[in-house]
Amino acid sequence: MSADLSLTAMLSMYAMLLIPVVIFFYLQLGIIRDTLLAAARMTVQLFLVGLYLKYIFQLNNPFISLLWVTVMLIVANLSILNKAGLKRGLFFWRSLIGVAGSTLLVSGWFILIAIQPDPIYDARYMVPIVGMVLGNCLRSNVLSLEHFYSGIRKNENEFMTYLMLGANLREATHPYLRDAIKAAVNPSVATMATMGIVSLPGMMTGQILGGAMPMEAIKYQIGIMICIFTAMVLAALLNIVLSLPVAFDDHQRLKQNIFL
């Protein structure tokens, strides 16, 4: 196992922050306050996460772990809708089904079929894996939903043309769905392709620092990358498809009151 960082060790890390702060001071960037505030927030938030993860791991109760996973899913879902500029009240349940369904499917697959920990509900696996998948889905879901609805809104004339030519809602929205999924997934294809050369992924680095053998760590990394990628595609697709019935009126016109 790696050495636990002592208080002095941590203080030495905070001291490193003085370098950018001094640079900001000389360049008069006016972002010192924001930087220090961000560092303070990071400290408090991670400290709290460490604290409750510690309890969740100690209790290792499947219901408490699932409760925590539920909280993560709800917070992620609200954040997706907010950032995509869509009204939460209209889309909450549909989007939650999309996000939760895809995240739980891939996480479940990884844990139950590939890892098979003992006990199977071990919080040490369930919580971080769902968390990592969800964190990555969040960004891609914001991209896909935002892209899809703004695409139709900006090209209303084109969208109406498809309808006038006899397209049903699924056919008329198809070009925008395709673009939205591409926009959401493209960055991840690039990330996968350069992984290991350009960047050493966070999870793998963390495991190696935590004392794992590199060859063990890369296997987990590959597993989690495939999980993330699959969940991204699934969630992006499900979220759009499930949102269609509330976003269009009975004449297939995009409702204007769905946007924030």
Binding site: N157, E158, T161, L163, M164, L165, G166, A167, N168, H251
Partner: protein, 213 residues
Amino acid sequence: MISFSDITLQLHEQILLKDSNLLIKAGDKVVIRGPSGCGKSSLLKTAVGALALHKGTVRIDDIELSTSTVYQIRSRIAFIGQEPVLGAENVRDALLLPFRYKVHEGNQPPEKEIIRLLERLHLPATILEKSSARISGGEKQRIAISRALLLGKTTFLADEITSALDPESRSAVLDELFRSDITLLSVSHDSEWIKSCGRIVEISEQKLLEMES
């Protein structure tokens, strides 16, 4: 046949038409006139459910426009706007686009028929390979008209579709659309077009008034 019964049309809180009626029999050619912003284009849009009516009913060939029939109605009538959107990368894909939809599946016309139609509208066969981004407004208008004709449509809602055409192309379009089997409801400022229409309807004080043609 197109019929508007007791329709009230409102756009952005402004009443454009109130309790108005209009009956267009099969084969009629109608042009709507009136000052800009009076609701000419909006009236056309209501017939295909692109714009909601505040009150009243629209019927196309005895099918009342409703939630359950809007899809059927759209597949029957052609709506062509002033600046048509081709909706595909190149002209060929744009012309064949509707045949990829379930409702028109299997009805794709043979290449020869497409080329013959394009030629009648003064468009060369080589335009099929052109990118949609590289064709002019007048060409776009004629491609949109061709697309509707290829679908075998006989009811046309046409909003200023000759605005970007030169006189020869315009008369070619008139030859195609003023056939006796085509029902036409249009908006136009083109004097040739207006002259060719058998009926002129004016929007005045929120009413549809039949004028002497």
